[in-house]
Assembly symmetry: C2
Homo-oligomer: 642 residues x 2
């Protein structure tokens, strides 16, 4: 056994004993130390960089580290085998991707869209959610003559005073009754769900307090890379806190396929479930309730959306057949489930609603998103493009909806990009490059010191690199450039430095490599060709599009013009595009706060026609043609010719 | 810390470390060693006798041990404080009471009653249970064009082939679908519950096997002292195994009041729950499924009955208010609960039905029992007397039913009697005493060597002791008798030896003390005065009784004549009495196997009028008068005057 010490920036050191032959990444996982590893230990992404400060590990050569890096002790954790006692420094850049939680409000675009759509739906006859209720019940105290059991006493009250002939009281609540009744003279605050005109389900019984409590709900989007949630006051429907956190599953693979592959290892499915529930969702909820000064017991309802793989992993359903032809999910529309059964830490009697999926690669995040956009209310042809680790497209209007999905990889959320990051404070979100000295002019989120580049920044960056001639259409860096920001490593792989410690006096280098640019080109090519294939299947040109809603964690400052210039989005007027942020979470919020929301989402899911791109004969050609900046067929981008 | 070694007869020694100041009983509980302790460590029952074979403990003087016992190392575990390393021998007599499980068939009386009542109910229009069903479903294999999710595929089959428009599939079953579907080409065996004309609830999905499986159910009576269960083939309604086991809660107190008191200690409620579920019910089920060659997963339904305290403890509901005026239960009619939620190890999707209680001291064992007797079908006045640790009485006919309960203590089941035992093999169940030499002529269950006396034997024994003049009407032993079987200890407490090692050459002594007789007299007095008070409240004499059904764990050989002679049962002709065994378990079996059973039991519970004896002004006087053999008012027993 060897002793391994992990020094994580800003945290207490973590010590452990580990057997011979294990890698630093395996050791870190066992010790609960977060190291970003989107490729799940394949040695391909280069993100699990850690620095050995004492002792020695056995590491192969890698293109992800320069000679200088290696001299300084940097290694890839996934490829470094422990052969003696060792001390390792884990940089914040690696851990930040995973575990930095943000509590914020909604973005302006998100707030605006939610307000607008909710008002619209109410005007169309939907009603404000009122099934979750609270009632102060002053029960008559029992006597020898009125000796009804506590449970029957409560039911009698509901029958006589509230008109519910059927009242369900589950075991968890039954256990609370005797003491709750007697703490304040049989005066209790009852939280219940009106499930039909004559039926109530009791969720909670507490001794009545001076001040009425507020019941809360949670809307949550489970993304492959990021998980975002908002806490909702269910009496005012106000969002009182919003938080997001990297999906802790990322350490087992960046995309859904790698995650599914991991479930085939012994205990893999449970590890992934635990990662998303115990290490992501529950901490998120914990932070939000703490910020709001309430407890998890005060949350009685939850609407959750995720892609089909995320839903399977969350529920512990084997996702393996999602990735094997004919791509069949275990379940698209699981029924509402008790929070205690899923393991999500809200009130254990609370119900968790999952937005239904359409198919293996069009999940609840899209059905919820379509509900929120709302494509189904539009007269004009409308498109929703959700840019996540998977890219999903919905096209249609109030009469029909078509949908498809493509695997973009995590590049849009900063994953598998050397210095990529989620849209967190310090992320470079806007970029221009000076024509003369090729210096980057950038803006970071929150104006903080740069920690990396998020999706919107990467789009700007690559667009600017193309414009200034640093790269060509295939994403290769021009070797003739003589500029200190453009360098080639010993393997002849080019890099461009947005921030350089020496040149710019910043705390850390931020750069992009040809490998990163290649990842991005594949991602944007996948999205564009998916849009193109979907429209082609309808025999429609891009010009029919009147509204294109861009959603996802790419960052609110996405430059649409640049995205078009890169050949990522169709070449139609910029004013037809809207960036609306997290449409999935917005859909969950609406489902939470409108009585008719869940039924409407189910109806939408049933009405969407799914196009399976992997068996579409034209898709692969379209994809290959789109893996060029902007595209091998310039006639698709007439505005760029000007 | 001291080392304590427990040598339990017939088992491997158990070693443990324990802190100073703990008692042997506390140590045994921590070590998982069963020592019978009905008074829960009060030092009053004398049942926790163990023998110290090396080392020393600090024990006070006790009337429960003779000087000879003390010389031989016997101590009461509950009062013996550990002060050094010690080795203790735990006799089988103590452990037998708890952990000897019996797998048997029903008794002849039980079988006969069940067959008769079930046939009667079917003739009255009830129908054989058919909501639990099994179906082989050959599902069409999915393709790109028929890409329904597994869950929807199953629902479609149920809709198209079985006519169920609503199909519920819980999370546990969802998790099974993907692999079960693909193991045998989408041919699966589905176990489901028809919950209404158009709704099915899926309980299990397995790859279809060669041979159809049989779904099983369990009927179980949770007694304060004994737990009895039978395993039922739900296709033939045959009872394939019956088993019983001492309720492991007994170590925390013999009667319900002591158990309730124990719940007030930290962790007490959980300990009692674990004792009945983990240490009693689950092992019982485990043994039965093993005997039948099936698994717990094959059991999908369970009907359970117990007194109100047992139900509260099983479900983890605070029972404290059951014993405080005005004696209010937390719940009388809990809804059916998923087995996984209660912690009972049958198929986790299976439902557990609990027979409803009427009041704090008339529980589901009585409502189930009344269903099985069946009082509610009789034209004539009928009485059910359930002789358990609590005695419950139901009186009525098809027009009305009155009920009351009294605390008899565990004497009828052999508890709190020095050499008492449950009705297990070796229990003395029938007794006569020779007039001349006062020798006991006895019969044991199964003809085995005597291990103790069970309820029916105690009735015979005390009756014979009275007849032969060994005791007087107050239960005091006649000091003038000069016979080696009659002895007085150093505290002047008399004993009578049924079996004596020296006199009879048996392996162990079996005796009864004046203290035991006193316990029994109180028990029989409680029952008789309850019967008397109930009839008096209706202004009816005992002569109205046409049928009296005696139920409970007292043993099938109960001598009714002797019970009358002791003043325990009313003095009416013996041929009006029937001993029917465990009526509670029979009621559960009927509820399991008749569609209308559960609704009928609920109806019966609602129609029973409860008389609270503890607030009845006449009861205490009646009880005191009944604490004499046969009674202080001989006019109540005219037949004895002859």
């Amino acid at each position: 056994m060897y002793k391994v010490v992990f020094n994580v920036e800003g945290k207490a050191p973590v010590e452990m004993q580990i057997g011979k032959g294990e890698t630093l990444l395996e050791a870190a996982r066992k010790a609960g130390v977060m190291i970003d590893s989107p490729c799940n230990g394949n040695g391909t992404c280069g993100k699990c960089r850690v620095r050995v400060t004492s002792g020695r590990v056995k590491s192969p050569m890698t293109t992800h580290l320069s000679e200088e890096d290696v001299q300084a002790g940097w290694v890839l954790a996934c490829e470094s085998v422990i052969v003696e006692d060792v001390t390792v420094s884990v940089p914040d850049a690696a851990s930040a991707f995973q575990n930095q939680m943000q509590i914020t409000g909604l973005s302006e675009g998100e707030s605006k869209n939610i307000r607008y759509v909710r008002k619209k739906m109410l005007s169309l006859g939907m009603t404000e959610a009122d099934s979750l209720r609270q009632e102060i019940c002053a029960l008559p105290e029992p006597s020898i003559d009125d000796n009804l059991a506590d449970e029957e006493r409560l039911k009698r009250y509901f029958r006589q005073h509230l008109g519910f002939s059927k009242v369900h009281i589950g075991l968890g609540v039954l256990r609370k009754l005797p003491d709750a009744f007697r703490e304040n003279g049989f005066k209790v605050e009852v939280t219940y769900l009106k499930t039909s005109e004559d039926r109530a389900e009791i969720l909670d019984v507490r001794p009545a307090a001076e001040k009425a409590r507020v019941p809360y709900g949670i809307a949550i989007d489970i993304g492959t890379t990021s998980v975002s949630a908002c806490l909702v006051d269910m009496t005012s429907y106000e969002i009182v806190a919003k938080a997001s956190l990297g999906n802790a599953q990322a350490k087992y693979g960046a995309d859904v396929i790698n995650r599914i592959v991991h479930t085939e290892k012994p205990g893999g499915l449970k590890r992934l479930r635990d990662a998303v529930i115990e290490e992501t969702i529950n901490p998120l909820i914990g932070q939000m309730v703490q910020a709001q000064g309430i407890t998890t017991e005060d949350i009685y309802t939850m609407c959750l959306a995720g892609n089909t793989t995320m839903t399977h992993l969350l529920l512990g359903i084997n996702p393996d057949y999602l990735r094997r032809e004919p791509f069949i999910p275990g379940a698209n529309q699981p029924e509402e489930i008790k929070a205690s059964e899923v393991g999500i830490r809200i009130n254990p009697e609370g119900w968790v609603y999952l937005a239904p999926s359409v198919a293996s690669y069009v999940g609840g995040d899209i059905t919820a998103g379509v509900f929120a956009v709302p494509v189904w209310l539009q007269d004009e042809f409308t498109m929703l493009v959700d840019l996540g680790t998977n890219g999903e497209i919905v096209f249609g209007n109030k009469d029909f909806m078509m949908t498809c999905a493509c695997s973009a990889g995590p590049a849009f959320e900063g994953g598998e990009i050397s210095c990529g990051t989620r849209a967190i404070p310090g992320a470079i979100e806007e970029v221009t490059i000076n024509d003369d000295d090729l210096k980057t002019v950038y803006k970071t989120i929150g104006g903080k010191d740069p920690v990396g580049v998020c999706g919107s920044g990467i789009i700007d960056l690559i667009c600017e690199m193309k414009r200034t001639g640093i790269i060509d259409g295939r994403g290769r860096i021009n070797k003739d450039i003589d500029n200190p920001r453009v360098r080639f490593d010993e393997y002849d792989i080019g890099r461009y430095y947005l921030c350089d410690k020496a040149l710019d006096g910043v705390a850390q280098d931020v750069y992009i490599t040809e490998v990163d640019i290649d990842s991005f080109i594949k991602a944007k090519g996948a999205v564009f060709s998916a849009i193109q294939t979907l429209l082609t299947s309808m025999d429609m040109p891009v010009e029919v599009l009147e509204n294109v809603y861009v959603a996802g964690g790419i960052g609110s400052n996405i430059g649409i013009e640049n995205a078009i210039a890169l050949g990522m989005l169709p070449d139609i007027p910029v004013d037809k595009y809207y960036y609306i942020g997290n449409s999935s979470m917005q859909g969950c919020y609406l489902a939470l706060t409108l009585n008719e929301g869940k039924a409407k989402i189910a109806e939408l899911a049933g009405n969407m026609t799914y196009v399976e791109l992997s068996v579409d004969p034209g898709y692969m050609d379209a994809f290959i043609s789109a893996c060029f900046i902007p595209h091998t067929d310039l006639s698709l981008f007439p505005s760029l010719a000007q």
